[in-house]
Symmetry: C2
Subunit: 334 residues, 2 copies
């Protein structure tokens, strides 16, 4: 196989391995909160972070009896939320540490009495200084969130496979994900070539892939590639949106292996009847060596992310649109 | 003023007045549940009902300390939700009584021990027989939901203005809403004429208008008019989506008068800098005679709905697309 474009295998492996290496620190923070007691868990974010928050929430809902939800920072700042107070654990994340809504929402949550765990990549920022428990490490937001979620559930007796799962992840996950990227590359090149000029592209997903689907459409194709998209959940697809799908409409379904898999399978089965332009990306098509069948559903969103990494690289080439540039975001005041 | 097309003023007034007339029945049901005790409130739906569930949720979050959320029926049937059980009040709605996901989700919630209040328009259906408390009356789903929400909050000491608000609504709301339709008609005709052939139309909203914005884009323009749309919350607009807006992009912002108004105002202020094709629909532009300033925010979604009723009528004419027809929904098995 020829070398992949824009693909530093060692750097990618080191990045995931390093994120997994945060586990001792995460366990210390979560265990201390568990000892003190808490009564609900709020995943806080906006844009891409809010998408990750939705993913952590659906992951926990599958197992946990705890009150858990994804809070949008802009909504919290205006509508408020009386469920956030003493006994609330707020978990958030920011690469730059300067997303204004998140800074303001963390301040408000702390004033209400919540404990805040912050994954702030830049430890020198104001936000990093504001949180109760700071963990600074680049990228891997979803993996960080799921590690926190899993530790809370293990402590609550809701995730007995915790040690076994993380032993597998520590040993195999980083390698498995770069192998996904390699395996996906030829498909990704073809997909980008076919869809780079779509007037609008539809993305459908569910479960722990839904947040990732929403975020991929909005934070990658719209924000970074300036391509029009719409994302919809697999369940909602049949309640309105599908009426505009006809033979030419480009629709991509992401199928994961968590509990909502049947919802996406249903969309994938139906689509060929109404469009000749659909694509199915199924995490089950990727081997993930060393990862047990029963843990695959917990990382479906990471497999999808790995496939999307390759689509991004080829979309950037096909569109000749450098993904770093922004028209408006942080270019203008608004 | 010439008579409005497709506008039966007396029928519209009677419909809203009749829905308000359900209040004695709603109070009886809610008060009985309040006496027994409950610990959380789950608004359950899919598609349009889920959208109404999101609206009831954000309305309650503004005031209530109770755990309240919108549950998507398809997600509940797959991922499940351990927060639904004894002590949970589930509220749902169905016009036909035959939406499969809602039927199955209500069964599952009742098996888990929840009490279900169902607004099922057709009392002879299986779903109507399944719910613990049945209220049958045509349409007005959002108003029904808000009446339940408000009664729970009044009983909990979180909505002291309840009696005063509903005295105003009983006396003036039905008339105020038809006056909105009349006032909106000329604008709606112009809007439909301008936007009927848009390749895609963007709708932005927040607060108790967000569910309505999502539902209007999906259940009306997509499902009933076969027009492409994307909807986005006012807060999320600045976190990705706005990068694809340029001079020609048609974007409509719905501004309500609830706590999230500033989020939508911000979008409305910014849009003219990047598109010459934006529209602002602001509930504040409609007088609502007899309704006090402090209650206007609680019915912003109904004002928006009244404006949209007129847009629908004119879109149907402009597109020559009868809104009753469906390509796929309930036409095919899927």
């Amino acid at each position: 196989m020829a070398d992949l474009v824009k693909f530093d295998e060692q750097a990618k492996i080191a990045s995931v391995q390093g994120a997994l290496g945060l586990r001792a620190q995460i366990e210390q923070v979560v265990d201390a909160i568990f000892e003190q007691g808490y009564h609900n868990i709020c995943w806080l974010g906006i844009g891409g972070t809010w998408a990750s928050a939705m993913q952590a929430t659906v992951h926990m809902k599958e197992r946990s009896a705890c009150e858990v939800w994804a809070e949008n920072a802009a909504e919290y700042l205006t509508t408020g939320n009386r469920r956030i107070g003493t006994g609330t654990v707020v978990i958030t994340s920011s690469v730059t540490g300067s997303t204004q809504e998140v800074v303001d929402a963390v301040r408000k949550a702390r004033e209400a009495g919540a404990i805040v765990i912050g994954f702030i990549d830049r430890p020198e920022t104001e936000l990093a200084r504001m949180v109760d428990h700071l963990i600074s490490y680049d990228e891997n937001e979803q993996l960080k969130f799921f590690m926190v979620a899993d530790r809370f559930m293990k402590n609550a007796g809701e995730f007995d496979e915790y040690d076994e799962q993380y032993a597998e992840f520590d040993a195999h996950l980083a390698r498995a994900l770069v192998e996904v990227e390699k395996r996906a590359d030829a498909f990704a090149a073809e997909f980008a070539s076919k869809h780079a000029e779509d007037p609008i592209h539809y993305f459908v997903g569910a479960g722990n892939q839904w947040g990732a689907t929403y975020s991929y459409a909005m934070c990658y194709w719209e924000e970074q590639l300036w391509r029009k998209t719409k994302s919809i959940t697999s369940g909602e697809f049949f309640h309105g949106m599908f009426e505009i799908v006809t033979k030419e409409t480009p629709v991509t379904v992401y199928i994961g292996e968590d509990a909502q898999r049947p919802l996406s399978e249903r969309v994938a089965r139906f689509l060929p009847r109404i469009t000749a332009n659909s694509t199915v990306i199924d995490t089950r098509d990727y081997p993930l060596e060393g990862i047990s069948e029963r843990f695959r559903g917990n990382i479906s969103h990471l497999v999808m992310h790995a496939v999307n990494n390759r689509i991004d690289v080829h979309m950037e080439i096909e569109t000749r649109h450098p993904m770093e540039i922004r028209r408006y975001y942080r270019q203008l005041d608004y």
